[in-house]
Structure formats: structure tokens, C-alpha cells
């Protein structure tokens, strides 16, 4: 009997083919097609128009701002992430469970609300806002606000990657280093950091992709001042609303490429260092 020849948990050939086809069709329709559309729109008027679209002052300013925001937010989140996961994984303290929950907050809160929180905190009606403004610091509708919102939204990526990894590795390696005479700093640089480097890189990659692509939270705090507070995602929307499709898609293609590069690097990391990366190792 044919049915007795395959394992009880695998389906018949027809069912298997149907399932695979459905998945592939779904992916093609919802993921691949938009990606292709972005690039084909971007290059519709030729490579020259594509470059021209990227070369406008607004587009250039958006690219610079996005790079700047990522260059500030990602390193800060690396430091915060390592601190938080170190604290959580390597010693016991009161309120630890609360801290773990708090780290996940940005994932469960809508980015728009994250942005609104900063408006409430630093806006004209708040206590802090007018005081800062009087002292010459603009937060809202300026770069600091965008950086803050981005840090908030991307905070969990590094920490969530490192916590399970560091918990898994325990403290024996650090204790060994200390017993051999290393001080705390040497132990961190020579033992702890090398132990977590691939997991950290993986977290940084995801964090960076999100930092550059964040729309909602940034849109609320940016004020969308042309050439000053528009990041790439915001500029894409502005171009599009102005019927400048080529420029919009040219800029969008940069984000799409970032996504593709991230995906490739992520896959390579998972394939090569899967057991040292918490997300795929657990």
C-alpha cells in the first residue's frame, strides 16, 4: 500500500505540492512583487532619472539625516542593550522581571504612540519642552526628537538578542578570567564581548534596518520640515504625495536594498553562527 510507505506526519504528494505552491504564490504576491515594483518604478524613466531623483537636495538631506540618526541610535542601543542584558543575564536583582517586560514595550506599543509620548514630554504644553527651548535646545520637530523616537522604537533588538545568549552562556567564562587575574574591563573585552559578538552583530543588523526604516514614530515628532527633519521614509512619502514617483521610488529603492542586504547578511550569520545567535538557536 502506498500510504504505508511515507511517514505518518508527512502528507501525500499532492497535498505537499499544493501547500508549497500556495506558500510560494502568497510570498510572490505580497513580498516579491512589491519589491520588483519598487525597482521597476525607480528605473522606469531610465537610470539617469533614477540618479537625478536621488540627487535632489531634499533626497540628499534625507539620506544624510537617516544615516546620522542611525549612527547615533544604533551605537547607543548597543551600549544600552549590552548593559541591560548583562544585568539581566549575569546577576539577580529586584524588579528583573519588570525590566525584561519593559524592554519588550516598544514591540507591543504602536510606533505612533511612541512618537506621541515624546510630543507630550517635550511639546509646547509640557514642563520640559518650554524650559529646554528657553535654553536653546530644540527636541521636537528637530533632530534630537527623531533620534529619541528611533532609539525608543529600536531598543529591544540588541537586548532581546543578547539576553537569552548571555543567560545560556552563564558566568563560568567570566569567573575563569577573573580567577586568572583579569580585571573587570579585561574580562569584558577579552572574554564576554568575543563570546557574544555574532549575536551582537545580528542584533545590530536588525536594529539598524529598523532605525533607518522607521516611519510612524519619526513622522509624529519630525514636523516634516523639508531638507531638515525628513528621513528617507518620510521623504519617500512626500515625493509620492507630490506625484514625483521616480524620485519617490528611487529613494524607496535604497531602503529596499538595505532590506535585501540585511536579509542576506542575516541569513549568512544564521547559517554560519546559528548556535551563537539566540533567535535561531532557541
Amino acid at each position: 500500500m502506498a500510504s504505508s510507505r511515507h511517514s505518518p506526519v508527512s502528507e501525500r504528494l499532492g497535498v505537499r505540492i499544493a501547500l508549497i505552491l500556495i506558500s510560494v504564490a502568497f510570498m510572490a504576491l505580497f513580498l516579491l512583487l512589491p519589491l520588483v515594483a519598487v525597482f521597476s518604478e525607480a528605473f522606469r524613466s531610465g537610470f539617469g532619472a533614477y540618479l537625478a531623483g536621488l540627487n535632489t537636495p531634499d533626497a540628499q538631506a534625507a539620506i544624510r539625516l537617516t544615516l546620522l540618526v542611525a549612527a547615533i541610535a544604533v551605537p547607543l542601543n548597543v551600549v544600552f542593550g549590552i548593559c541591560a542584558s548583562w544585568a539581566i543575564a549575569k546577576f539577580e536583582f529586584k524588579g528583573k522581571a519588570f525590566l525584561i517586560t519593559l524592554i519588550d514595550l516598544p514591540f507591543s506599543v504602536s510606533p505612533v504612540i511612541s512618537g506621541l509620548v515624546y510630543v507630550l514630554l517635550f511639546g509646547g504644553g509640557s514642563v520640559l519642552g518650554p524650559w529646554l527651548k528657553a535654553n536653546g535646545v530644540e527636541v521636537l520637530f528637530a533632530v534630537p526628537g527623531i533620534v529619541l523616537a528611533t532609539i525608543f522604537v529600536t531598543f529591544p533588538f540588541v537586548a532581546r538578542e543578547l539576553i537569552p545568549l548571555m543567560q545560556d552562556q552563564g558566568t563560568n567564562d567570566e569567573e575563569a578570567a577573573l580567577s586568572l587575574g583579569a580585571n573587570g574591563w579585561q574580562t569584558f573585552w577579552r572574554v564576554t564581548l568575543p563570546n557574544i559578538k555574532w549575536g551582537l552583530l545580528y542584533g545590530v543588523l536588525l536594529c539598524n534596518a529598523r532605525a533607518m526604516g522607521e516611519f510612524g514614530a519619526v513622522a509624529v515628532v519630525s514636523g516634516k520640515i523639508r531638507g531638515q527633519t525628513t528621513t528617507i521614509p518620510l521623504q519617500v512619502e512626500m515625493f509620492y504625495n507630490e506625484y514625483n514617483a521616480t524620485a519617490a521610488f528611487a529613494l524607496a529603492s535604497l531602503l529596499a536594498m538595505l532590506a535585501l542586504v540585511t536579509l542576506v547578511l542575516k541569513t549568512v550569520l544564521e547559517w554560519r553562527f546559528g548556535d551563537e545567535i539566540a533567535a535561531s538557536g532557541h
Binding site: N172, D173, E175, A176, A177, L178, S179, L180, G181, A182, N183, Q186, R190, V191, P194, N195
Partner: protein, 345 residues
């Protein structure tokens, strides 16, 4: 170096893992901390290392009070059960680590560090593996690297936490013998933790039996085996059987009947009799311990017989040579040849 643990108490969140423990470790000896899990043996080792700090009491290294010193200042070598080798470093880098992290004033030159690491690699019989990474080595090899790494800093005391616990039986026996030879050659004061009594008996000069955060007995392996200080030690070290008895008329009575064992010096009243399965004589007669054979299994060169004694069916174990004719019988009688009495609890 001598190590003196003086009235040390250690609490974790209000739970006393060690209660008022004192122990003198002699210079150059190999001493085992032996006990079941939860007995506090690892805690004691980590306190000596400085990886934990005592809640009360002091620890002396020679004449120096080490209680307040950090783990770095104590200059100890620590070997972990799961090796804790640095996985991103080669074997040579692992062994050199302790010398490389020294402040410049005390750090040997790079060539000297390398020479010493290679020497240690040779000592642990792993020459030629210096460029490998820990995950390319077997468990036994890794533990030898861990030991070489600990020895590299020329520690005053060597501390090993269940060093062979993660290895299979064959490798464990081999490494045990090897560690003994290493110790005899280098003469480090060595403390190792184990829950394996065979390991402790075979390897150590003295052993310290622990239970529930306290020391039960400290002595040579023969001392502890032949003259256990408490029912716990008797039961934990080696095989043993226990029987409730009464002392009366200068002899032992089991359920009112004499078993032919005189005890002129014992205090009359109820007591607990302990004996080892191999310390018995098969005898015929009335004044014996007699019982029905419950199971009889051959274990290698001996036959282990479980007997149910008397009307109360007290289960005891005795050993016979595997080819002894009595092994076929359904009733056996015997007397313990060597035994020990403890007060009834």
C-alpha cells in the same frame, strides 16, 4: 600554601548553604570535598576561591587573612566542571591568558609567555595541539587544558570543581590517575569537589565529608572508610546496611534474639548497627542473623544477595564470592565481621 577556613557561614537569600564550617588544609596535600548535592561543598570551594564572600567567618591563606581579598588577589587556580575554556581562543592563547592579562610591570615578555605555555602544554601531554580551538578537543583534553591554564599563573592553591563530572567513566578513571601523578610532581595544595566517593577515596590524601552545609568528618580515606564518624558517613561512603538493634547483657539483640556479637563496652538500650556487605561471615547456628533471600544477583566478581531478616523483614545486603555454593540457597545466616554501632536516632 596552607589554607585555613575558620567558622565560615554562607547564606543565600536567608538560606544557610554553609553553617559554621572550619577546615585546615595542609600545605601540599590533595584534599577532596565530598558530599551529596546541596551539601555545600561547591560553596566552600568558591568561598576559598573568592568567587563568593562569606557571610561570617574568615579564610586564611598561610598567615594572611584572605577573607576580604578579591579573587584576583588570592592567586588561585580554578578549574570548572564544564572547563570554561575561552572558545574563541586557541589552546595556546587559553593557557597564556593569565600571564597576558597581568599589569605590564609583572607581565613576562611575549616569548617567555609562549615558552611557559608550551611547557605546560607538554606537562598536560597535549603538545602539538596549541593551534587548535577548544571545540576541536575531547572532553578529557579540554579539562587538561583548563588545568594547564590554571597552573600557568603559578597559583598558591589549586581548586577543582567536579573536574571529572562531565566525562565518561573510562576517561574519568584515566584522568584521575593522571591528576594524582601531576599533583605528586608539582606539589600544589589542591582542593577538589566531587560527589563520587570512589574518586575521593582513590585520589585524595584526606577527604572532608559534608552534608547539609556542615562537615561530618575529615580524615584519610582509610580512616573515613573504616571508622565513619556518623551514620551519614557510613551510609555515604561505600556500601552499607543498617539494622535496628538493642544492646543487652553485653551483646547485640535483634528483636530480642542474640545474634552472637558481643559488645562489652556498649551502653545498653536501642542502637543502630551498620556493616558493609563484604564484611560478613556466613555461619550456621541460632545466634546469627538469618533471613530469606529476596534477590541474588551476580555483579562482576561477587554475588550481591538481598536478605529479608526476621519477622519485620529488615532488608540488608551481603556479598558472597560469585561462585559460592550458598548463592543458590533460599535461606542464609551470617554475622557481621566488622561493624559499627551508633545511638538510635
Amino acid at each position: 600554601m596552607e589554607v585555613r577556613v575558620s567558622n565560615v557561614r554562607k547564606e543565600f537569600d536567608g538560606f544557610a548553604a554553609l553553617k559554621d564550617v572550619s577546615l585546615d588544609i595542609r600545605s601540599g596535600e590533595l584534599i577532596a570535598l565530598l558530599g551529596p548535592s546541596g551539601s555545600g561543598k561547591t560553596t566552600l570551594l568558591r568561598l576559598i576561591a573568592g568567587l563568593e564572600m562569606p557571610s561570617q567567618g574568615k579564610i586564611f591563606f598561610g598567615d594572611m587573612d584572605a577573607s576580604e581579598k578579591t579573587v584576583q588577589e588570592r592567586n588561585i587556580g580554578f578549574v570548572f566542571q564544564h572547563y570554561a575554556l575561552f572558545r574563541h581562543m586557541t589552546i595556546l592563547e587559553n593557557i597564556s591568558f593569565g600571564l597576558k592579562v597581568r599589569p605590564r610591570a609583572r607581565r613576562p615578555a611575549a616569548g617567555e609567555i609562549r615558552r611557559r605555555a608550551m611547557e605546560l602544554l607538554d606537562l598536560v601531554q597535549l603538545s602539538g595541539l596549541e593551534k587548535r580551538y577548544p571545540n576541536q578537543l575531547s572532553g578529557g583534553q579540554r579539562q587538561r587544558v583548563a588545568l594547564a591554564r590554571a597552573l600557568a599563573i603559578e597559583p598558591g592553591v589549586l581548586l577543582l570543581d567536579e573536574p571529572f563530572g562531565a566525562l565518561d567513566a573510562q576517561v574519568r578513571r584515566e584522568l584521575r590517575r593522571w591528576l594524582r601523578e601531576m599533583h605528586d610532581r608539582t606539589g600544589h595544595t589542591t582542593v577538589f569537589v566531587t560527589h563520587d566517593q570512589e574518586e575521593a577515596l582513590e585520589l585524595s590524601d584526606r577527604l572532608c565529608v559534608m552534608s547539609q552545609g556542615a562537615i561530618e568528618q575529615v580524615g584519610t580515606p582509610d580512616d573515613v572508610y573504616d571508622r565513619p564518624a556518623s551514620p551519614f558517613v557510613f551510609g555515604f561512603i561505600g556500601e552499607s546496611s543498617e539494622l535496628p538493634v538493642t544492646v543487652g547483657n553485653g551483646e547485640l539483640l535483634v528483636e530480642g534474639r542474640s545474634i552472637g556479637v558481643p559488645v562489652p563496652a556498649a551502653r545498653p538500650g536501642p542502637a543502630r548497627l551498620f556493616f558493609r556487605p563484604h564484611d560478613v561471615d556466613l555461619v550456621e547456628g541460632d545466634a546469627t542473623l538469618a533471613g530469606a533471600v529476596h534477590t541474588s544477583r551476580r555483579v562482576g566478581g561477587t554475588r550481591r544477595v538481598e536478605l529479608d531478616l526476621g519477622p519485620a523483614n529488615h532488608r540488608v545486603e551481603i556479598d558472597l564470592p560469585f561462585d559460592h555454593p550458598a548463592g543458590e540457597r533460599s535461606q542464609l545466616s551470617f554475622r557481621p565481621r566488622r561493624w559499627q554501632l551508633f545511638p538510635a536516632s
